[in-house]
Symmetry: C2
DNA sequence: CTGAAAGCGCTAACAC
DNA sequence: GTGTTAGCGCTTTCAG
């Protein structure tokens, strides 16, 4: 591997001039240097540069599960934005494991200029760990109770839930069930709270047997739905994409028809949602954009003075009505009769 | 940030001893050093270490599309294995763009100890670029015509295709259509070749109107299916997951019933495949395992002498028969009559 | 087992 | 605009 010294010698200048040329400054021997760089196939040594400058030209991204389509889209958005700025992505998959998440924070913070993280829980050590770092950090989709002073890019969970409940209520549903995620996580807590608030706002009582807190996984949604069905809801709002898949699987097993026997609304769209029979009604949000926004926020922080007020962005959601929602069985029976 | 010098001073030893302690060697003042490390919250500077050792403790992963469930699963497998070995992942998403892929190869090769790549095409510059690197490289899922001397972890595309065709033929289908990916890519080429070979092996003629080469994207599958339907196939084998989604969408639009009017087999399972109505019959492969295998191969290469013979691993596939395949319409009519 | 010291390749003062 | 040079923090000879 050629070094900057080799290039300097070949071009008949000092390493400083080569360094300046590389940095885009005007240099007299530019053409000579360019030729030397080309001939030697010179590539600057990243480690040396990083050591010298104290920067890394990389950002860390920590998500609970790369295979969740939402996080995959998030990563895509982050990647696009980071690439434009010339930064690499160090990816960490915590696999829904707090220990792993903590380890990742420690490791990535030593090799990046900033971190984008979707923390597993709101009050975990992770939040504290992140605080201790002097690195810029952006929370995506999830926030931390301890670190209210950190930038974050959220999504309007309350509004999403309200839209779902309003839609179901408008169709005449009264026995609306809710399958939520861990209350320790932001989407879990907010969507849960949003559900109760939306029901209350409409003067609708919440049957506690119809509210299940699960784990955001497919299996969790599946088990929750099986448990829930015994209490005969006429509609169910499922708080994330994976659990929705699980819930649909459970309904399938139970031979419960959608939407004839039960209406289903999911949170987060899925590429195949329109393909399901019936096509799934969902609350949709701009996933890739959420990632890109988080990246932009982080890039702004990197290189800026620390201590500025935290930026909190809340992206809008929309309800996409497809075929999985209809009036409750009773009403339909009435209509038919 | 505390440096190794600070620790050495605090512990009353030289930096060399601290370095040795950190490397796990037996050192007399171990307890003193341990305490100093702890009190100062010492974290070794990664850039300095990398500069000195010439290593990076990181591997690069380049895929065409993070949001494709297959690649997401691949990444998950790679991540798991790399983490165990203490290596970080630098992720590159080429977004199905050759230029981008080339740029990524260049960038990542300067900051990693090895690269796992699923190349877009078999004879692109990427292959050449990779060859020029002196880094260990592993191709996953896709290979390169120019670089036959590189490790690779493939999947048995021919067998997968054969299983699909055999299944459809056994059901009585004769007009079997094929929607493939770019012939410039390995899965595109092999599945296409496999289809023709499997048909020939059974003495079944291939109607050229029933063979479409698309682009592995959802839209490609959609358009191909619409075009294909005019020639009235009784079954279709779609060569990847995204295109299968598109094809199903097209059939839906055309109000063609599956499997009553047409049987469908996809390549690559999908978490929601069992949820589709009818549940989708697919060729399945061990995706996460494929990633993990590639990572293991790369890890073996890193630190080993270069020049060993290339390792070529081909992982098995299996056919998962669900509800989207049945006998052809004619036969069914005959049975009913 | 230990310490002194060289040096990985680069950038940024600094003096010209 | 240019060259000289110090030094980022670490590991690894080398001599003891």
């Amino acid at each position: 591997m050629a070094t900057i010294q080799d290039v300097a010698t070949a071009a008949g200048v000092s390493t400083a001039s080569v360094s300046r040329y590389l940095a885009g400054q005007t240099v007299r021997a530019a053409t000579d240097i360019a030729r030397a760089v080309d001939e030697l196939g010179y590539q600057p040594n990243v480690s040396a540069r990083n050591l010298r400058t104290g920067r890394h030209a990389a950002i860390g991204v920590i998500v609970p599960d790369v295979t969740n389509p939402f996080f995959a889209a998030l990563i895509k958005g982050i990647e696009q934005e980071a690439r434009t700025a010339g930064l690499q992505i160090l990816l960490g998959n915590s696999d829904e494991d707090l220990e792993q998440e903590n380890a990742l924070i420690g490791e990535l913070s030593q090799r990046t200029d900033g971190i984008i993280i979707a923390p597993l829980v709101e009050d975990g050590r992770s939040a504290e760990d992140v605080a201790r770092l002097r690195l810029p950090v952006v929370f995506v989709d999830r926030e931390s109770r301890e670190r209210r002073d950190v930038d974050r890019v959220m999504v309007d969970n309350l509004e999403g839930t309200r839209l779902a409940v309003a839609h179901l209520a408008a169709l005449g549903h009264e026995r609306i069930a809710f399958i939520g995620g861990p209350l320790s996580s932001t989407p879990g807590r907010e969507r849960h709270a949003g559900f109760r608030a939306s029901m209350a706002a409409r003067g609708m009582p919440v049957d506690e047997a119809l509210v299940v807190v699960a784990d955001f996984r497919e299996s969790g949604g599946h088990d929750a739905m099986r448990a829930l069905w015994r209490s005969r809801p006429t509609a169910v709002f499922v708080a994330n994409n994976l659990m929705t898949i699980g819930a649909l699987r459970a309904l399938d097993e139970l031979q419960v028809r959608v939407p004839a026997d039960i209406s289903v609304v999911g949170f987060d769209d899925l590429s195949f949602a329109p393909l399901l029979r019936p096509p799934l009604t969902v609350v949709r949000r701009p996933e890739v954009e959420q990632g890109a926004t988080a990246a932009r926020l982080l890039l702004d922080r990197i290189g800026a003075e620390p201590g500025a007020d935290p930026v909190i962005l809340t992206l809008p959601v929309e309800l996409v009505v497809r075929g999985s929602t209809a009036g409750p069985p009773r009403e339909r029976a009435a209509h038919h009769g």
